[in-house]
């Protein structure tokens, strides 16, 4: 069983890409992915309410899709009602895109959002790669937020260049989990399992922006035991989101 915690669908405006829902689902199915946590691209670049509506709609009709809502702190207006509505609809993951929306983690509107989400038990998905290649220090900022807000944080974009920071923040904050689509150092999984434990790692592909095998091959070939691979591939996210079993 494979759960992909990091997928998008919709129209990608920044380069030509097959990112419509059917293409994303076909890509997942062809790689044995049984469940995809999915977020509308409309919510990133256009209106988050429209995007979240779209996400909820497609997930409602397909049990292999788990809705991921997104919020743009710049929008500000009606954030409270947007959050209340998505929580009432059962959304368990809220994903943020500061790398495209140009806001920093030290950002008062983002703090407000985190305050609104506190206590709901949801997972907040945040990218580490904000501000370009080898831009370290971002995860340290997320760790500070994890220490302050009672929320689970899933950090995407861990790769060789920020691996030390990823290990340090995961070791210092138990509410931090690391997503794996970019774990690309040769022994990245071996090092992470040893340093932070397989329980803190969650598989994602970043499909359709990336091909699935880019992230799946390194994990499947990693010299870690099968039990740890199962945790990374599906068990950890199932546990953290309170799924009794995959739909």
């Amino acid at each position: 069983m494979i759960v992909d915690c990091n997928t998008l669908f919709g129209f990608w405006p920044r380069r030509k890409l097959k990112s419509d829902l059917d293409s994303v689902k076909a890509e997942a199915a062809s790689h044995g992915i049984t469940k995809s946590c999915i977020c509308s691209i409309r919510g990133i670049f256009a209106d988050h309410t429209d995007g979240n509506d779209e996400t909820l709609k497609v997930c409602k009709s397909d049990p292999s899709l788990e809705p991921v809502a997104t919020l743009n702190p710049h929008r500000w207006l009606d954030l409270n009602s947007e959050i209340d509505m998505r929580l009432a609809q059962g959304v368990r993951m809220f994903r943020f895109f500061p790398e495209y929306q140009h806001w920093p983690y030290r950002f008062m509107p983002f703090y407000r959002i985190l305050s609104m989400l506190e206590g709901s038990g949801v997972m907040v998905v945040c990218p580490a790669r904000v501000g370009g290649h080898q831009n370290n220090g971002v995860m340290t900022q997320i760790a500070a937020l994890a220490g302050e807000y009672d929320l689970k944080f899933l950090i995407t974009g861990v790769y060789y260049g920020n691996l030390a920071e990823a290990i340090a923040v995961a070791q210092s904050e138990e509410r931090i989990f690391l997503e794996t689509h970019l774990v690309n150092s040769p022994d990245g999984f071996e090092v992470l399992v040893k340093e932070v434990g397989a329980e803190r790692l969650i598989y994602g592909s970043q499909s359709p922006l990336h091909h699935v095998n880019t992230s799946l091959f390194p994990l499947l070939h990693a010299a870690i035991n099968d039990e740890d691979k199962e945790k990374i591939l599906h068990a950890n996210i199932s546990r953290e989101l309170g799924w009794t079993e995959c739909k």
Binding site: R15, K16, L17, G132, H133, Y159, Y160, G161, L163, A164, I167, L182, N184, S185, P186, D187, G188, V191, E195, S207, P208, L209, H210, H211, V212, N213, T214, S215, L216, F217, P218, H221
Partner: protein, 241 residues
């Protein structure tokens, strides 16, 4: 299918990883079915190129499947010329590596041009690390040295679309797409722009896991002939394997 990886390394990196020796590289080559890897020594890029090249020469001795790049540092022109002279007779060294980002220089600097004149005479392919800022310089020097075969390593990194376009009409530039920006479609776009005959397979191992790039290539949906060209045929021709 044979696989030649034209972009590898041995030596330590300043990141949390324990892969540095030829035996580690070979383990990863085996895991991905890679037959040959052409490597540079990490500290030749990040620190002392003369010492690093020597370490690579020693590490490659008697090793099947591993070939080397002579790293040059244009800040040290005379020493770089000496490096070429020292290693040009070693059949394990089959190319030259330039890393303008790490060593902080521009490819259009007169020292680089002076070194490329010598490289042109030696008929050695040149692997150039390219992230944004270096691709257009590479195209300029490629125009000045039409006999030199250049490899655009990383294909411009996060600005790979610009890298591809810059190389489109420079027939002595081959594209090599490995990086930590494994965007879907980038290999296909490279093939569309320059043809599979001018795309090479590189992994950046042992800085990166070769499976990471191998997975990207596997999912690119290329036909068998395109895959053959990229995985080994182009490299065999370029490096005369």
């Amino acid at each position: 299918m044979q696989i030649v990886d034209v972009h590898g390394h041995i030596g330590k990196w300043t990141f949390p990883m324990r892969c540095s020796a030829v035996k580690h590289l070979k383990d990863y080559m085996l895991g991905c079915g890679i037959d040959k890897t052409i490597v540079s020594y990490s500290s030749a890029i990040t620190y002392d190129f003369v010492e690093g090249n020597q370490r690579l020469a020693e590490a490659m001795e008697g090793e099947d499947g591993v070939w080397g790049y002579i790293v040059l540092n244009p800040h040290y022109f005379k020493e770089s010329v000496t490096e070429l002279d020292k290693h040009k007779g070693n059949p394990k060294f089959v190319g030259v590596k330039l890393h303008p980002e790490q060593q902080v220089y521009r490819l259009i600097h007169k020292n680089v041009l002076g070194l490329l004149e010598r490289v042109s005479d030696l008929q050695l392919p040149v692997l150039v690390h390219t992230f944004p800022g270096q691709t257009h310089d590479l195209c300029r020097v490629a125009r000045e040295f039409p006999r030199v075969k250049f490899i655009m390593g990383h294909m411009g990194g996060n600005d790979w679309i610009d890298g591809i376009e810059a190389a489109r009409d420079r027939e002595n530039i081959w594209l090599e797409p490995c990086s930590s920006f494994p965007d879907a479609g980038k290999i296909n776009r490279a093939v569309e722009a320059v043809g599979a005959e001018r795309v090479l397979f590189g992994t950046d191992s042992t800085l990166l896991n070769p499976c990471f790039i191998w997975g990207m290539l596997q999912d690119a949906g290329l036909d068998h002939e395109e895959l053959r060209a990229i995985t080994h045929r182009n490299a065999q021709t370029m490096f005369r394997f």
